[in-house]
């Protein structure tokens, strides 16, 4: 029972005389301030008497608003009012505050004035629908209660207040302490009553059944109610499907009909002056009926996708799922993102899908670079030396926090994701330092794993042709290698998200793509290194498996009855293999499946990095050509000479990457030198763009075929393919424009007089295409 009484009679003390007396002591332009309240604090103050700020200026009593409301005489009238409230509810989901939509309904406020400050449960239980007004009231109770639950879920799901949605309830209790069951009973009573009427309006029943279906979904969150007894154990996916079924049926019959008798009386801004409200006066906000149902359908479809997250049990799958949702659904409603976050990650207990973030980070390590016997030994819970155990566990804890942040960032809105990933670069860079330090320290305790570098990389170091020494070995460093790969991936996302968010101007495109290509090339090289490490370990383990099999067969042939010594022989064989650091407690043969999985993953990542690298390079050359052709407008320089200003702009643009130790951000001078743009003519740049785009397309097609092999069409891959085609076509168009003005001279540096147009919609958001219009 709520004891809060926002509608109680307030008594105010009149301070006018005292105020005027104090004010008369001030001169013109003189201000009162104290250290605790300066002009800065005053910025958030409301200005009393300013109609744009003071929502209490035209206060009207709720009673007088209720008086003007006509009663609802028909089923269609009730349906219209319910749909209008639903439209406001969806406007709230889109970001407007409750006082601008749902709470602005006089009937909603009337209902809340009864339930706030009284025994709401007793009141609800006493309700027994006998008229259409009562049916609307039951719908209002359900709407209010579900909003209350959704607000709690979104707070728990770390939805950003004010930025994504306004979560304020303005000190009102939205049936907060009332069990859903009471509301569901009222809905059921209403449905029963409608069925006794001549006008058994099915549309109206649909609306009430939708609220029931929504409570089934929300019941998985509140965990204290399953509205229908036989659905107690029903999976959430089925509840979402049922709600979607009802809403789909409602979309068909939703009509934009009007009931003029309610015009101007059902919704009012006057609530803003009656309740606890420190916001400036705000306009009413709604959406059309069609749009409201479309939005709810969209929300439920997102939920239908989101609930699949609970089935995921590997890190690559989880990150892929989250990144795909984030990329596809930049318009996802805050409740969907909050729900995903709620299902996925609990930051207070550092849990991801019911397991600790450290368990997940270990999983991620094993899936990538630590599936080898050495890697798995490394990640064991305990080691013989307690210092080693502590050092490794500390690292895993730090890595778990970084991993948790990465997971959580994906459920935010796209601009915030960009910012959070920018911050993540710094924390992953620190993690890399920690990994390198740990791996260096552990060398004191046991031999570290190595990678055998192919001969051609070490030939120059050989002093004699005849020397048949073992191949050179370099430290494998699987931990820092894993951090490096993840860090580079985040850096690439940050760089490319800027294109999606429209942050870069065209004149910046070439150097941002140049930097992206720099990162993707490094990542590609490092993935190849990881691939080599895995292949070498896998070969050894497979050889060992064959040896074990042969030994076992020999044993049988010798009729040796000691059948259980195969493990012992494995360890013996391990000792003779050209590898280091393997603990006897890890049987290399047992790691084969994990290493095979890792290799598959790394293989896909190599192909992805390869195509991204070439696509970045293609767009880098294309946009550099447009720039050289004089088609991009550069800003004027203020506060310095041009080269200094350009260097400042380069450094400011790449500031999120400036803190990274490895790979170090190339200086502006290094960029100018290594990009080579100054030495190439526009036509030469376009030839490069065209070549790289075609090559990228071939590689993307391989990925597309691989995805199609699993019976899927990946929208992201298709969009990448369109970008590669678009870049090649654009390069061709601009080349033709040059051939018109200068048929034979490939080295011409003449500027063109046409204009450029950036096309985004049909291409991948990370690779918009610049087109030339003559």
């Amino acid at each position: 029972m709520s004891s809060h009484t926002p509608y109680a009679d307030h008594t105010f003390k009149n301070i006018t005389d005292e105020f005027e007396s104090q004010v008369s002591q001030l001169g013109v332009g003189e201000l009162v301030q104290s250290p605790a309240f300066t002009l800065f604090e005053g910025v958030s103050a409301l200005e009393i008497g300013n109609p744009k700020m003071d929502s209490g200026m035209n206060q009207i009593s709720l009673a007088s608003c209720i008086e003007k409301l006509p009663s609802i005489e028909t089923a269609s009238g009730a349906l219209w009012v319910i749909d209008q409230i639903f439209c406001r509810e969806m406007a709230w989901h889109q970001g407007a505050s409750l006082i601008q939509n749902v709470l602005s309904c006089v009937k909603v406020e009337q209902f809340l004035s009864q339930t706030n400050g009284s025994d709401a449960l007793a009141l609800l239980n006493s309700k027994n629908p006998q008229c259409w007004d009562d049916v609307v009231e039951a719908y209002i109770a359900a709407t209010v209660k579900s909003i209350s639950i959704m607000i709690n879920l979104m707070i728990e799901g770390s939805v950003i207040e004010e930025e994504d949605i306004v979560l304020s309830k303005y000190d009102l209790s939205l049936l907060d302490t009332i069990h859903e069951k009471a509301v569901v009973e009222l809905l059921n009573k209403s449905i029963s009553w409608i069925k006794t009427q001549k006008d058994q309006n099915q549309q109206l029943i649909n609306r009430l059944e939708f609220r029931l279906a929504l409570f089934c979904i929300l019941g998985h969150y509140t965990q204290n109610y399953q509205p229908v007894a036989d659905k107690n154990q029903r999976p959430i996916a089925e509840d979402v499907a049922e709600a979607l079924g009802v809403i789909n049926a409602s979309v068909i019959d939703a009509e934009e009909n009007m009931f003029p008798q309610y015009d101007g009386t059902l919704f009012s801004t006057t609530i803003q002056g009656r309740i606890s409200n420190n916001a400036p006066a705000r306009l009413l906000v709604t959406v059309s009926t069609t749009e409201a149902f479309r939005l709810m359908k969209f929300l439920l479809e997102d939920l239908q996708y989101i609930v699949n997250v609970e089935k995921i049990n590997n890190s690559a799958g989880l990150l892929g799922f989250l990144v795909k949702f984030a990329g596809k659904n930049e318009q996802a409603l805050p409740f969907a993102r909050g729900f995903l976050r709620y299902l996925t990650a609990d930051i207070s207990s550092l849990m991801i899908l019911g397991e600790s973030c450290t368990a997940w980070v270990k999983r991620d390590l094993i899936e990538n670079t630590c599936s080898t016997p050495f890697g798995q030994y490394f990640l064991q819970e305990t080691h013989d030396n307690p210092e080693v155990t502590t050092a490794i566990n500390n690292f895993i804890y730090q890595a778990g926090l970084c991993y948790m942040d990465l997971i959580c960032s994906t459920t935010n809105n796209r601009p915030r994701q960009h910012r959070l990933l920018g911050h993540a670069i710094v924390s992953w860079d620190s993690l890399q330092v920690a990994a390198e330090t740990l791996e260096a320290d552990l060398e004191n305790y046991f031999p570290m794993d190595t990678i055998e570098v192919p001969d051609n990389e070490t030939t120059s170091k050989k002093t004699s042709k005849s020397s048949k020494t073992e191949p050179a070995k370099v430290p494998a460093v699987p931990l820092s290698s894993w951090v490096y790969l993840r860090k580079l991936q985040i850096m690439i996302w940050v760089a490319l998200l800027g294109f999606e968010l429209d942050i870069y101007k065209p004149w910046e495109f070439s150097f941002v793509y140049w930097y992206t290509n720099y990162l993707t090339t490094i990542r590609q090289g490092h993935l190849s290194r990881a691939q080599l490490y895995l292949v070498q370990n896998l070969d050894r383990a497979r050889q060992l498996e064959i040896d074990q099999f042969n030994n076992s067969r020999k044993s049988k042939q010798n009729k040796n009855k000691k059948k259980n010594n195969s493990k012992g022989s494995a360890i013996k064989s391990t000792a003779t293999l050209p590898t280091t650091g393997i603990s006897p407690s890890i049987d290399p043969v047992q790691t084969i499946p994990a290493m095979e999985m890792s290799l598959q993953l790394i293989h896909v990542l190599v192909m992805e990095a390869d195509s991204l690298s070439q696509l970045s390079e293609a767009n880098m050359y294309l946009t550099a050509a447009f720039d050289k052709a004089g088609l991009f407008r550069h800003p004027t320089t203020i506060g310095g000479d041009e080269s200094t200003v350009r260097e400042l702009q380069y450094n400011l643009r790449l500031k999120p990457f400036s803190s990274v130790g490895v790979p170090e951000l190339p200086s502006h001078a290094e960029y100018l030198q290594s990009s080579g743009f100054s030495k190439l003519s526009p036509v030469e740049l376009l030839l490069n763009a065209s070549h790289m785009a075609r090559s990228a397309k071939e590689k993307i097609e391989v990925i597309a075929k691989m995805v199609a092999g699993f019976g899927q069409v990946d929208d992201e891959v298709e969009a990448l393919k369109r970008s590669s085609v678009g870049i090649a076509v654009s390069a061709g168009m601009l080349t033709r424009a040059y051939s018109v003005i200068d048929t034979d001279d490939r080295a011409t540096t003449k500027e063109l007089e046409g204009k450029m147009v950036i096309t985004k919609g049909k291409y991948h958001k990370f690779f918009p295409v610049v087109d030339y219009k003559a």
Binding site: L31, G42, V43, D164, N413, D502, I503, I638, G639
Partner: protein
Amino acid sequence: MSSGDKDSSVKSTPKPIIYRPYFKENEETELKSVISLISSDLSEPYSIYVYRYFIYEWPNLTFLAFDEDDKTQSDPCGVVVCKLERFRGCRNRGYIAMLAVKKSHRGQGIAKKLVKMAVEAMINLNADEIMLETEVTNEAATHLYENFGFLRMKRLYRYYLNSNDAFRLILPVTKASPIMSQFLQKDPEYLEQQQLDYMTQQGQIL
């Protein structure tokens, strides 16, 4: 803060316009005219205290434009309101809070001139960078600033009351601007020099 300026290109022969800083001594009339001009133009409702905060604290960073015919200079046709302060204890950050030009006076380059005056004033006061926010949909204002070399650094989701996103733009002025605060904060020599410059400059103003 937002910009209500729609003036990015010079469309007609400019009328004679007089530009000058805000006169603090004429506070009573001057402030009213600034509020009147800005509040008719901006999407955000600002209270009197917002204007007080900026103009009372940094009167030297508010610039006004008047018609030459407006002999009493009581009815500005354009205004820019800014501030300059230490940011995270390691750099001087200028901020363009408001920019407005009367509809009747747009297309004459008034906004461009006002921004130039404000930027130069802040540079003279040792600003390391100058920042502002503008609505993503306000292309004219975004282009105006970008032509001065401002870069879009962040997109701010649903930043304004009308639910529109904003771009945060920054004009880098010194080498301190592209360096992360956490690194600047660790450079004692730089900090000492900055503090000295800032204090000297503040002393000159006061």
